[in-house]
Subunit: 243 residues, 2 copies
């Protein structure tokens, strides 16, 4: 039974050893929102890659007919890639049955960082699948949930902290005696103050504003939808599957 919830505001704040922890990596705008969407729409798996050339290597190894290249650099589609980092791009028609070799600036790096630290499980959380993530925690034998905000270029990201607060808030309903770290407490306060107008809340962040300026405003509204997906992406041995 999970007894405590903590939030790492950036991946660099994560300690090395994570035995006994379940880790939820959060990159609301947009990697973990997009990963869940790809799996929801029938992608077989998502393989997070640090660099574009790593994604190309995956495609060469697994087979060009089975692998799509997805992700972003400076928020835009990478040259030669099939897909950008907008969740709306990952439709059933495009990703059904495929593996997505996926590289983004923050989210895939956060997954790589926590992926080899001995956690009981590593999940991908977002506002879209918030309740599904919290439900899944009831089935995982871990002492503590660590919510890892992917952040933005190593800096604090408002929407990830906000989402962590949403997950923490939902944890108190499911695990009534769960203890909150100070970071989880602040995140939950932040979430509750904006939960009636989530899109407005996350649109106020610097990264959201820069995304909007680049033409990705719809992604903010898309990512702001709370509890609309039951998909729980699980990262294991370098690959993300639907649980």
């Amino acid at each position: 039974m999970i007894a405590r919830v903590n939030v790492a505001v950036t991946p660099s704040a994560v300690a090395i050893g994570l035995r006994g922890f379940v880790v939820i990596v959060i990159d609301v705008l947009r990697a973990t929102t997009t990963i869940a969407r790809a799996l929801e729409n029938g992608a077989q798996s998502v393989i997070p890659c640090l660099e574009p050339e790593d994604a190309i290597s995956v495609r060469n190894r697994v087979g060009r007919d089975r692998v799509l290249l997805g992700g972003e650099r400076e928020s835009r589609k990478i040259s030669g890639f099939d897909l950008d980092n907008s969740p709306a791009s990952y439709t059933s028609a495009v990703v059904g049955g495929k593996t997505v070799a996926f590289t983004t600036t923050n989210g895939t790096r956060a997954l790589q960082r926590v992926g080899h630290a001995g956690a009981v499980a590593v999940l991908c959380g977002s506002l879209n699948n918030r309740d599904a993530i919290v439900s899944s925690l009831g089935t995982i034998d871990a002492k503590e949930a660590l919510l890892v905000c992917a952040g933005q270029d190593g800096e604090f990201s408002f929407e990830d902290f906000f989402c962590a607060g949403g997950i923490a808030s939902a944890c108190t309903e499911r695990f009534p005696n769960i203890a909150f770290s100070d970071a989880a407490l602040a995140a939950a306060v932040t979430f509750r103050s904006g939960e009636d107008r989530i899109a407005d809340a996350i649109a106020s962040g610097e990264h959201a504003q820069s995304l909007a300026a680049l033409g990705f405003r719809d992604d903010i509204f898309d990512a702001a939808r709370l509890d609309v997906s039951r998909v729980v992406p699980v990262y294991r041995d370098g690959e993300i599957f639907r649980s």
Copy 2:
């Protein structure tokens, strides 16, 4: 004119170079609250020291009649020291005219970390002197204010983040066009959600609860008093003076 306010949730999140920045170190429970109190009550200066033996060296160098030893380890007075880390201990009768050689677990370490990074100025902020700090920013020629939370043993501290949010919130009133980083935005939201019941808000943090369990509950109420002091402690060349 300060154009942006940012929050570092722990000292380790502070970048190395701080040229053009004014830094406000925040350790509400209790170092920066206590430093301001000592100066308010007539202490000549406070010298932050990393270790107890460093404080003893200061006393031996400056003179036993002029120096008091203050601070804590594991929240309690250090053996052989004159004063603990409770702001209420630093009365005029005790500290008037004296220099305090001061060592604490988090606050003095945070000061040491940011003290040599080229900042325009390094100030000690708390809830007690929140408005005085923000007023002083109007006279400092810096491009950005960086609010550095001392944290707790390298971890996020609720009361420091809350206080950073209080400072950020007051900055918007004094500098109407100031930009907020995402961390400043979340901190301000956290502050505003609790500003009507500050003692309750900061008492909910893990560190506050551990302090209360050790008998320091009064310190929480003391540190929670907003805008009650006009003292702005300035850290320069290894020593903190009243500005």
